[in-house]
Amino acid sequence: MSVIGSFLRRPEAASAISLVGIIAFYVLIGGVNLGTLFGAASWVNFAANLGIVAIPVGILMIGGYIDISIGAMIPAGSMAIAIISGYYGLPIWVGMVGALAMGAVVGLVNGILSVRTTVPSLIITLATLVVMQGVVLAGAKLLTGNASVSLTSPVWAKTMFGGLIGSSHQTIIFWWLAFTAITVFVIQTKPVGNWIFAMGGDMVSARNAGIATNKLTISLFVLSGMSATFVGMCSAIQFNSAQVSGGMGYIFNAIVSVVVGGTLLTGGYGSILGIFIGVLTFSIVSQGIYFTQIDRNWSNLIIGVTLLLAVAMNESFRKFALSPPKKRPGAQRERQKA
């Protein structure tokens, strides 16, 4: 009993149940073969790209902020590396540094505006989202005269950032898993993780407790910007070209994954493991549907229903977590007797 109780008290409980539920639904109703589903690369590749963006977005949300500029930063990262190393022919590492630096600079702007003004970060990052879309489109046209730029990468870069394992799984999967492992460790066990939760719980109290909330906020936005350009950079290396568009879908996909994963939209509550499971759930729903007999046009409906169910579960589990545990096994036995 207490094992179930302590599981349900965790922020990722609802997402884990959603994940199992959705797999069961696809197996029972959709007639999918479990082996085929788990062997498939499509949803894992999708999850890896989404996961790298969703984690920092989720950490920001725990800290009480939101970042939607990632939608423009993914194509910006692709374009940066393609223009620097493809169009101008500079070494690939220069392009990588350029792409990541661009993410860092936009993250810095988002962060500084968030701590210096009282404008909600949704509006600030909406502005930088639109600004960066303009910069990427106009910049690409101005510099290369084209909305699509090709890129040829050396073998080492291709292997590390844009290769395939067993001709189907992208190497970005390793980056995703490593990033997840590191962030789980840091957020769960390091003091800085505690600061982020405190900041999202009550900004003023966190500052009064001596937490450097401004520095922390700016760093989180920088991390988010860099993660998005990293994903863009990897996709340019993978597909040998960069487009000015694309990436907008990531905004909603990332937010849905984070919220399904048990993170509270208003901050102060959540977990990286939950976000990871949320990403898996989202990817299996949207990509796994191709392996079922269900018409794939229904996938958005299933995503919406999953989101509602997961949020409803999150609400009730959070209430449960706030209630005191009945932990003395003796007391429980007595109650059963009575």
């Binding site: 993780g193 505690n194 102060g268 706030l322």
Partner: protein, 260 residues
Amino acid sequence: MSDKKVVIELRNVDKSFGPIDVLHNINLKVREGEVLCLLGDNGAGKSTLIKTLAGVHQPTRGEILLDGKSVTFDRPKQAQEMGIATVHQFGGTFPLMSIGRSFFAGVEPTKGWGPFKVFDRKTANEIAVKAVQDFGITRIDDGDRLVGGLSGGERQSLAIARAVHFGARVLILDEPTAALGVKQAAHVLRIVNEAKRRGLAVIFITHQVMHAMAVGDHFAVLIRGAIAADFGRGEKTREEIADLMAGGENMAELEASIKV
């Protein structure tokens, strides 16, 4: 009582915001192991006074003395470092964090070394639970519980225990009993007495005369930014204090006028 050491003193403190004078010529002393009850109606200047003590505002004129030495606080952090802690009505704690994590927010104990130096959950929980239990709240026994699951009184107690644990000498309690039921308020009053017993200088802001009379050694009534009365325990009756708080009007008459 007067043989006890004065911890914090306000001398002729004025505070104005532009042309608006909020505090005039405030003189107050709080000794160690003594509870000063600051009474006053809404808008009397209580909040401005405690914010001045906590370093949020700086006095326009006059001085603040800590242990007899004149001090100025440019930021709330400075006041905190010198041992002046403020606990607000809702405790200033994080509802969705565990008791242990919330207690040590910003000053987390760690174990291990280098990149594997991690938050020491066990130690944090043990210290936090012990600190609260020492104040007599024995119902809190699991540091992993979320703060939001505690009662209002327990959250106040946790916040007070936290302030004391981190070396507070002057404890400013801003209406700690305002949102609480009778039983919960009694808990908090007991905690205030415990803080007093430990030799803290306590400034207790309240609306409720009964709560003030239960723990106060010394009373100061603030009316329109000035100290209208300053008296010791047992020098005035409950009715007299209530009248003072209402700005000198006779509360009995006021109450009578309400009745149809």
